[in-house]
């Protein structure tokens, strides 16, 4: 048996390999030793030898040399987890400890910290072992295009924007959507590709062959509003009149002497609620039915009459507003002046449209409400964009932006005040705003936005799309004039669509035969050609990024393959002409050429696709979309603000990438990238307008870096209250590269103190009671508590106002200490401690980047690759772009 020292040394190497911080050995031991030799891939994780004592003390009496209860012997169990069988055996041990099954109740029990240490070490070793045992030795599994890439590829081939939401979601168990092993294919999916391909071709042919004259529609905002309000008022006048007539006649019947008794009874019963008296009209002989007055029933009659108060004074007031005759003041509730709509004919083709509005903020409206949302009538009623209103009534602003319209979406657009979009929880702040205004003046709140007119103009094709469509058009024309035949069309399309793979004559023959069969059926040539073209778009050569290779040593990619890999990495779409040209000339591989191309691709706006896809998955941002924020508690974290806060993460990363700035700015920074809406949310003065820009922060600001971003903090909540556990685990996973193992199965639940009023900290302190929980939560929770000065929606707070927190204990206490590490007094110190270790963030970022770019999990064999990337980036102050350059230059990126 190996000596304990040897096994500890081996473990130390493994730990540093895994970047696994401390395996219960204390942080001091965990730093990689510069003397550690280059590891062999065969190296397997082992449980530190010192833990054999634990087994000896608590297990081997029943599971030892003499007795082997349950046929399990632990005194000689190997500590190296080098086979699935051994891992399985240890998994059982871990489970029986986690579930509290072992040691049995009548046996000697370990001390809590002792047990937690053992569990922590074993859990971490299990994670490492699973990773080692599932390591693919750097092998990249061929993958198909994911949804995003498929959509982008069709756009570049055919110039259309296709809704691909019907395809099943990509990515399986917590991997990137580029990881081949998790990208499956199914019969249904094949059929969907066929259908989507045909649809894309139909749209493309139509767009290419239809003359797209630019059209313009102009709407004066008052045109519909005033008649609508007048109609509503007339309706309420009529209701009131009819209601009055009805109640008068009921009263008359009630006054009849023979009805005196019942009338008196009913009046007594509804004392103080005159209206309710009329609900029982049937009990009064001779009283007329409300139906005779045009009401469905008495309840409805009262209800419709009762709405007078919230509608009519508001309407009367509206008509007296100074510019009601020349525009629309956007309301928040009750009257139908909440939207200014722009209906354009459905026949207007898909494409980009310019939207303009002349718009202003009345002086009485509160500043925080001076935003408009632009929406489409898509069933999701999605907010397309949000705009700050800066114009004054004397000097309105001209708002102008572009909006994408695809084939499926409707053609009715509308503007509304931001509050109307709400928080997505179905309640929305609009009603609260109305109520508050109404309670103050019995009319309604002040108006915050006024619109003079709105305009749509388009479609305006981007040069890229216009170029693609022109190409499609010329292909169609030549085909229709019989200058080309089906075989030539298919062959030409194949060479483009298949990214340089040659279509075999056999495949081509079959495609041509399908075309001919269809024309025989009577299809027109242009329709008949769609089926074989759609098949090319459903063929494995198109759907899979194939890189043929033989078993054994990796081979170098061809230049074409390199172009494809690079382009899908940074653009999520196939290589463009320039990349292909370089590849065809055999120059792309030259380091200086490649480096220039990486810079070119990053500078192109298509690199935003990389940022959005990569950052969202790396940081787990999809969690943000999962919760609706309670609009009573977080009125200002409405959907537009939430969207802006998510955008902040992307914009920040992307700007840092393009500015060649350091990744460490994500940990702490003296500036933020925000727009007017977020500045208002963060209470940062002097930032007006919709464009995101860099804003320098005051020295004492909690913002600057991911930890100060509303989106990141809001993810660590459930829309009602904060979750220090989610936040702490996120920091460990993403910023400190010390991911806690997955939540263990079968741990008994603690219910002991539930239902009692507790602070968040007290509630979560329960995690520390049982060693099964403490093994991870002692690391997770202190970090989460350190972020408690941010509420569920990421706003700064000093008190926890949750109703179930004891009154005398509301003050936030953010102090704490890393498990077996440094202590911090407050959030600011916590942030400084995390920011002092940028190499941790860099390491996690590197691994994520490798996984995303190569389409396979980061493995043991990637250790050299990670060091190489980290070394290069470190020399350049961790510039984000440098990580990408280093990866693009690396051998694995050039190998299959």
């Amino acid at each position: 048996m190996e000596s304990r020292l040897a096994s500890v040394l081996r473990l130390l190497r493994t730990c540093s390999l895994l970047g696994l911080g401390s395996l219960g050995l204390g942080a001091a031991f965990a730093e990689p030793s510069s003397a550690s030799p280059t590891p062999k891939p065969a190296e397997h994780p082992a449980l530190p030898g010192k833990h054999r004592d634990f087994l000896t003390r608590y297990c081997t009496e029943c599971h030892g040399a003499e007795k082997q209860k349950g046929k399990l012997r632990l005194d000689d169990i190997p500590f190296t987890l080098d086979s699935p069988e051994r891992a399985e055996r240890w998994a059982k041990i871990l489970n029986s400890l986690n579930s509290g099954e072992m040691p049995p109740d009548d046996a000697k029990q370990p001390e809590k910290p002792e047990k937690a240490d053992f569990l922590e070490a074993l859990s971490q070793t299990m994670v490492a072992a699973r990773r080692a045992l599932t390591d693919q030795g750097g092998k990249i599994t061929m993958r198909r295009l994911n949804r995003r890439e498929y959509q982008n590829t069709l756009r570049e081939l055919l110039g259309v924007n296709l809704d691909v939401g019907t395809l099943p979601p990509d990515g399986g168990s917590d991997t990137f959507d580029t990881v081949g092993a998790s990208l499956f294919m199914s019969p249904d999916q094949f059929q969907l590709y066929r259908e989507l391909g045909k649809k894309a071709l139909t749209l493309s042919f139509k767009a290419a062959t239809t003359e797209t004259a630019v059209q313009k529609a102009h709407f004066e905002a008052e045109a519909e509003t005033i008649p609508m309000i007048e109609r509503q008022v007339a309706e309420f006048v009529s209701i009131r009149k009819r209601h009055t007539q009805w109640t008068r006649q009921v009263d008359a019947a009630a006054r009849k002497p023979e009805n005196a008794k019942i009338a008196a009874e009913l009046r007594e019963k509804h004392k103080g609620h005159t209206e309710k008296f009329y609900l029982e009209w049937e009990k009064i002989p001779g009283a007329p039915s409300p139906k005779e007055f045009g009401f469905p029933d008495a309840i409805d009659a009262n209800m419709m009459n009762g709405r007078w108060d919230t509608y009519v004074p508001q309407a009367a007031d509206y008509l007296t507003l100074p510019k009601a005759k020349s525009g629309t003041y956007l309301g928040v509730a009750h009257l139908n002046h909440r939207w200014v709509s722009l209906p354009v004919p459905q026949s207007w083709p898909p494409g980009e449209y310019k939207v303009r509005a002349r718009i202003a903020a009345p002086p009485e409206g509160p500043v925080e409400r001076r935003f408009v949302d632009f929406l489409t009538d898509h069933p999701s009623n999605q907010v397309v964009s949000t705009h700050q209103v800066t114009g004054t009534m004397e000097n309105p602003q001209l708002l102008e932006f572009t909006c994408k319209v695809d084939a499926e979406s409707g053609r009715r657009f509308k503007f509304s005040e931001k509050a109307v979009s709400g928080n997505g929880d179905g309640k929305g702040p609009a009603n609260d705003i109305f109520r508050e205004g109404f309670e103050a003046n019995r009319i309604g709140p002040e108006y915050a936005v006024w619109i003079d007119w709105v305009e749509v103009e388009g479609p305006i094709q981007s040069p890229q799309i216009a170029g693609t469509l022109a190409n499609v058009r010329s292909q169609i024309e030549r085909f229709e004039k019989k200058e080309t035949d089906a075989r030539q069309v298919l062959s030409a399309f194949a060479s483009k669509a298949l990214r340089g793979r040659d279509v075999t004559p056999e495949f081509l023959d079959k495609l041509v035969a399908i075309y001919e069969a269809r024309t025989k059926e009577g299809d027109k040539p242009l329709d008949a050609i769609k089926e074989p073209l759609a098949l090319l778009l459903s063929s494995p050569s198109f759907l899979y990024l194939a890189e043929p290779a033989t078993e054994g040593a990796p081979r170098q990619l061809t230049e074409r393959e390199l172009a494809t890999r690079l382009s899908f990495f940074l653009w999520s779409s196939p290589p463009d002409a320039e990349l292909l040209d370089l590849a065809n000339r055999g120059e792309l591989r030259k380091p200086e050429v490649l480096s220039k191309q990486v810079d070119r691709l990053l500078a192109d706006e298509r690199s935003e696709r990389f940022t959005r896809a990569f950052v969202a998955q790396w940081l787990g941002l999809s969690r943000l979309d999962f919760f609706q924020f309670n609009s009573r508690l977080y009125r200002d974290y409405d959907l537009p603000t939430k969207a802006a806060s998510k955008n902040e993460v992307f914009v920040t990363f992307h700007t840092l990438l393009q500015k060649r700035a350091s990744l460490s700015k994500l940990l702490k920074s003296d500036s933020v990238f925000i727009n007017g809406l977020l500045a208002q949310y963060y209470k940062i003065p002097g930032v007006i307008g919709d464009a995101f820009r860099e804003v320098t922060l005051p020295a004492d600001s909690p913002r600057g870096g991911l930890l100060g971003m509303a989106a990141i903090l809001a993810m660590g909540s459930n829309g009602e209250q904060t979750s220090p556990v989610e936040r702490g685990a996120w920091v460990l996973r993403k910023l400190l590269h010390d991911p806690p193992p997955p939540a263990p199965a079968n741990v008994p639940q603690l219910n002991r103190l539930a239902g009692k009023p507790l602070t968040t900290r007290e509630r979560i302190a329960l995690h520390q009671e049982e060693p099964q929980c403490a093994q991870c939560h002692r690391k997770i929770d202190p970090i989460g508590f350190g972020l408690e000065n941010f509420d569920a929606a990421g706003r700064w707070r000093t008190e926890d106002l949750r109703p179930d927190v004891p009154q005398n204990n509301r003050q936030i206490n953010a102090s704490g200490a890393f498990h077996k590490g440094e202590s911090f007094r407050d959030y600011f110190q916590l942030r400084d401690l995390i920011a002092a270790k940028p190499e941790r963030l860099a390491r996690g970022f590197t691994e994520a980047l490798v996984e995303f770019a190569l389409g396979r999990p980061f493995g043991f064999s990637d250790e050299d690759l990670a060091s190489e990337i980290m070394d290069r980036a470190s020399k350049k102050n961790l510039e984000i772009a440098e990580f990408i350059h280093a990866l693009a230059d690396s051998k694995p990126f050039h190998s299959k």
């Binding site: 693919q136 061929m142 249904d188 290779a549």
Partner: protein, 432 residues
Amino acid sequence: MKTSLSRRHFLRAAGSLIALPALESIGFRTFASEKENVSARPKRMIFLGLGFGVTQETWFPDANQAGTEYTLPDGLAPLARHQKNITVIQGLTNKYSQDAHWGSTFWLTGANRFAEPGQSFHNSISVDQVAAVKISQDTRFASIQLNGGDPDLLAHHRGHGPGLSLAWDAGGKPIAGLDSPALLFHRLYSEESMPLAKRQALIAQDRSVLDAVLSDAKQLQRGLTKTDNDKLNEYFQSIREIETRIAKDEQWLGVPKPKAPIAEPPAKMRGKEEVRLMYDLMVAAFQTDSTRVFTYRQPAEEFVKSLGAKVDIHDMSHYAPGERMEVSQLRDRTQSTLLAGLLDRLQSIKEPDGSSLLDHTCVAYGTNLRTVHTLDNCPTVIAGGGAGIKLGHNVVLPKNTPLCNLWLTLLHGVGVSAERHGDSTGVLSQLS
């Protein structure tokens, strides 16, 4: 040769399809009610997967009350009128399941995620697919997968884990499910508007389409590494599966789809309404013998939302006394109420021999997660006489009895003579 086989196949299928109502209408009931004939009725199976687990304190019957004399706990109380038609089984576990948010991924497979060296995810065929091959070949659809219309979210949040439905094919790859009652209705009953000749031409064209892409796949296959070939194999498998479907379409080409015994459901139904409609449609599908095997990975997030609850499903699953636990209990009861409704419907549909659909249907209801993060003692209810297990019991098995032993028992019960399933070690004698 192939044609004549298909034709025979089709005739048999069509025969059995019309037999059910015809026999009934001419009063064959007395004639057909002999015991042998009862057992000769087609067997049907339904698997209902809940995802996140149940409220263990109020869902499991008292383990000390094993047998027929047991009290239904709060979570199962709405099933009271069916107590004789259900058996609750305690002590079942998928021993390899360790992922604490994966209630559905391995529920019907019992696979070891790490069984394949070098892969971080592995799965194997699910029990419904094993059954479908045997018991549902003569119907228009060998099996139908349903998948609750939850938004497209992290698997973690739904309590189901990776997968596209409860079903996994012979290669352990996920099978997609229909995600709304309206889609299911159209699959079952909407008639092709296309004339027969055109459809035949289309089928011929589909064949040439598959032939074409296969030639490309074969070309691509050359020169790929083994791993890549395995990946491409998913494509081949898909094409083969479509071929099977086409063959089946061909068999059924001349047979009009049955008339729907149920109204078309509204387009957007979510949560508990979705579940209710799906149950109704399952019964309708059995009535028209459109398929005999269903799996349904149920909506989780939307389900809880439709109860008017303010807590989300993940928080609910981590319940503690108070609101979260109340929501969890409400979900248990609502699910049981819906299940009781399904059993009512199955019982109300009479076979020509006087027995009911419920007598020949086996409903398996549960999930791989017991409660919170706990994966042992999976909540399990078996209902109906389809698999011939004893009903009306609270069966308490030894701890950690393989869940796959139950699946194997059910397979045998519906007439599939499998040797094993997943990690099964034998059939459960306690159920007969």
